[in-house]
Every structure is written in C-alpha cells, then in structure tokens.
Symmetry: C2
Subunit: 301 residues, 2 copies
C-alpha cells in the first residue's frame, strides 16, 4: 500500500435537486476524492480553505485517514459553489461560483509529500497542475481531471498536462468537447493520442469507458433508483479509482485499472444517495464489500 496525494478544491456547496436542498454543505473535489480514497490508503490533501472553514470539517477528514498537513488556511472565505439539478440530474446548472481564497491558490507541497507515489490533480487550473507535478519526485501513477472552462481557455497548457499524466479521468460531455468527437468511444480514442496511457470517461448513471492501448473496458453504474444528489460523483469515482490502485500498489496494470474503475462506480453509487459528502463520511469497508457483491450480480450474465 502506498500513499495518495490529491490537489483540488475544498468548498461549501449550496445544492438544490428534485429531492430537496442543502445550504453550505461540505464539498469540493478534494473532499469527495479523499473521503473515497482514504478508505483504501492514506491520503494527503493539498488545497486551501478560508477562515470560515469549520474545525469539525477538518477533524472529520483526519478521523478518516486523511493527512491535512498540506491544507493552507488563508484570510477570507472558503470557495463556495451554488448549483441546481432538474429533470434527469445529468447536468448541474451553476448558480454561483465564489472562488474566494481559491482564486489565489498556489499549491505548495510539504516536503514530506514530495515522495508520494499516487498523485491526482483534480480539476484546477492546468498551470497549477503542472506546478504540482514539478514538486513530485518519482510518482508511480499520475492522474488528472479537467473541465470545459479550461478546455476553452487553457488548451495549450492543458495539452501539456496531458502529455505528462498516465490517466485522464474526464466527464463524458467534456471528453467530447476536448476531442471534438460526438461519442465517448471516439472521444476516448482521440484523447489517448494526446498523451495519457489510459483515459477514463465518466458517464454518470451510465458508468464509464476505460480506454488504453489494450482496448476498451466499459461497464454501467450501479443501479440507483433514487438519486438524491449527483454532486461529487465524478470526484468520488476518481478517489476510489486511485485508492484501489494505491492499495494494490501497482502502477499501470490493465487488470488493476479495471478493478479501479469498478471501485470508482461502487463509491460513486453511495455519494449520489445522499446530499454532499454525507454518505461518504460514514461509509465502512463492509458497505463497500456488500455493494461490490451486489454490483457483481448486476453485471454478471
């Protein structure tokens, strides 16, 4: 087992879905990711929070096997996102993005973090993703995520990141935007040619597409009839994906990547059952094992 490092956002989110609404609930890619990954392996978080960030939220992370030595606390407020979902819950409508302390975030790794073997660059400015990579000594596996905003505004820098990562994990819609292709299968193929050794297209309720030079691996999400809040499902997927690989302590192995994708699905299926990180906060390994058995039943002919 090796340690994991995630660089991403810590936030308070205000979310409205057909199931209800929550105000200023704990969120951000680094929170979802680390709460999922830390079920598998010790996880180090690099990010920034404001003075309003609750001690209880910080302690919750440490109680869940997350190392918060890389978290910076800065004058000002924590990143805040407000959004809503309508209809089929596949797309979030952003109502407000208050970057606050996140606007001037400059990821600086504690010396003790520089030897981390499994590194995930969540959806932040590609320039900052590169800055993190420069501080890492000999990573075994590097993954990244991105979003439409960076694809539109920072494509050359983003492509530089893609040339340096092993795995890109990306939403289906954004995979089409990045590749200019009209389906996830063609998109994954095109993105593979941009540098990464593997591409994982996250398809929400439809699961994922993993593509590497050894071909495609495609499975659906675990079936959930009552999706309460899809926020963070993609970051949860990435967390479990990295967790699974770090726990197995392997780098680029097709069988391990497949298992990692399945664990991505399993943990994401818990996240969507409750608002924010509520489901992840209390998740046990026994829950994961039970769902793995249930998932196996769902996909086995």
């Amino acid at each position: 087992m090796s340690d994991i490092l995630v660089v991403g956002s810590l936030a308070y989110d205000s979310i409205s879905t057909p199931s209800g609404k929550v105000d200023r609930t704990l969120g951000g890619s680094a929170n979802y990711f680390s709460l999922a990954s830390s079920l598998y392996a010790k996880t180090r978080v690099v990010g920034v929070v404001g003075e309003d960030y609750a001690d209880t939220d910080m302690k919750m992370l440490t109680s869940r096997n997350v190392d918060v030595a890389g978290l910076q606390k800065r004058p000002g407020k924590t990143f805040h996102w407000a959004g809503k979902y309508e209809g089929d819950l596949n797309e979030a409508i952003t109502l407000a993005t208050d970057l606050n302390v996140f606007e001037h975030f400059n990821p600086e790794l504690p010396v003790a973090y520089k030897d981390t073997k499994y590194v995930f660059l969540a959806n932040i400015h590609p320039e900052l993703q590169l800055r993190v990579l420069e501080q890492i000594e000999k990573p075994r596996l590097v993954g990244s995520d991105t979003m439409n905003f960076w694809i539109h505004s920072q494509l050359p820098t983003l492509k530089k990141v893609l040339s340096k990562v092993d795995v890109l994990l990306i939403n289906e819609g954004e995979s089409k935007l990045l590749s200019k292709k009209s389906n996830a299968i063609a998109a994954a193929k095109e993105i593979l040619a941009m540098g990464p050794k593997a591409v994982v297209v996250k398809r929400g309720e439809y699961g994922f597409v993993l593509h590497s030079k050894e071909g495609y691996f495609v499975l659906p999400a675990f079936p959930i009839a009552d999706v309460v809040d899809p926020t963070g499902a993609g970051d949860t997927f990435a967390g479990a994906f990295f967790g699974s690989l770090a726990k197995a302590d392997v780098a680029f192995d097709l069988h391990a990547l497949k298992q990692a994708c399945i664990h991505g699905c399993l943990l994401a299926s818990f996240t969507v059952e409750k608002f924010g990180v509520e489901a992840l906060k209390n998740l046990t390994w026994a829950d994961v094992e039970a769902r793995a058995t249930a998932y196996d039943r769902v996909i086995t002919p």
Copy 2:
C-alpha cells in the same frame, strides 16, 4: 428451436446523419426485427406493404429465413419515414411520416401462424397489438414495444397490453414518459408493477437495463466509435433478444433473458455501423460469434 412471429411496420426510410444520407432505404420495425431474429430462428412476419414494395426486398427476407406469408400487399404506397440525426445521434428528428397503406393496417394472422410460440408486438397501435394476441393460441413468450405517441394518446389500451405481455422492451426516454420517473432504474421498477414479468429499457449507446422480480441486469452497448445511423437499433435489439430466446426454446428464465439482452446489444452494434438494414442483410453467424467474443472482452473485469 421454435418459430418467432413479429407484427410491425415495413417501410422505406429517408435518413440523414452526420455520416451522410440515404433516400427510401429499406426500414421499418418488422424488417430490422426479422433480419436479426432470423439469424437465430425461423421468423414469421405480419405487416402491410404497398404496390411500390420491391420484389427484391421481399425476396431478400425469404432468403434470410423469414416467412412472408403474413405480409399483405395493398393498393397504395408503402409506409415512408423521413428523419435526421444531429450531434450525438441519440435522438431522431422526424421530418415526415407518410403512413400510406399502414394507416388502415389490420393484422390478420395466417392460420399456420396461430401456434407461434414467441410473439413480438412491435411499435403499432395498442389496439392492434391486442388484436394480434387474440389470434395467438398458446404463446410461450410475448413481448411488446411502444412509443411516446401511444403513451400520450392510448394509455388505457396500452396498459391493457402491458397486463398481457411477458416482456416490455422500451426506449429509455419512453420508459421515463410511461413511468413518470426520471431515470431508467426507477422507470423499469415502476413499469414492472404495470404487469410485465420483465422490462428491458433500451439505452442506445449506453446499453440496456433488464429488470425482473429477481433484480437488475445492466450492461453497456458494444463500443462503436463511428456510428453511421442509429435507426433500427432498438428493433434489431428486440429481434436478437427474441431470436436468442426462441433458439434456446425457453420461456421465462433469468439466465436466458440475460443472454437475450446481450445478443440484443451485439446485433444492434452491427446495425448502427451502416445505413438502414445494410449491415443486417449480410450478417453471418460467424460475425455474431466474433462480436460476442469481443463484447465479452469489453465487459469482463
């Protein structure tokens, strides 16, 4: 092995997709269905064509193990549909629907068809679906399809059909419409309560959801990077689904239903690679077996 009966449309379609366009190509649910199902078991077709229906198109069916004794030829023109696809190909935009001889279609089964064991009622007026069922003596398995038009305009009659069929095969969008649910998992659950013993939600490029009292079985479509024309993929799925069950000669067996869904995916993956029924017309059992092996590789952890 038992015979299959399909009642549905035979048409000439004019289709435009990002890959090109075709004018008055052979189409209609009964053509797609029977070209797929007849690879597995002898298939009887009940439908109506106009005087313009080409002898070569009729002979093509008979050359593919399809019994056309139940086809009526009527004065007038064959059903014509014109449609186009844009962007991600998930939704057809109908440009014209000329019912022609299909408008006064009254399905009458040849006496020799009345003992058919596997019966599929493709997307036609639910009143006609009921009329077909009245003519069948002791079916082993009855399936049906439907569409938004009948859900909106003929719901009571459609519900009567649902109370009499074993399996409903339905598009994802229409499953949500029929169930008033916002995802396919919840929709399948709701529809199961309307009568059928199993529901198959067809999700296009995302595969299918099979739901019965024994739970969910969910798998993705076979990955196709270059989808040329999605028309008929759902009817092809239904054809292979029924073909697989009739070949195995079983009625309601969970393992057989799962295999039937997989065969639905396999054959639909060929259909979308070419315009109209072009791919199905020349398909061999060896092609199906090769794709089954490839699909297995794609979904096996």
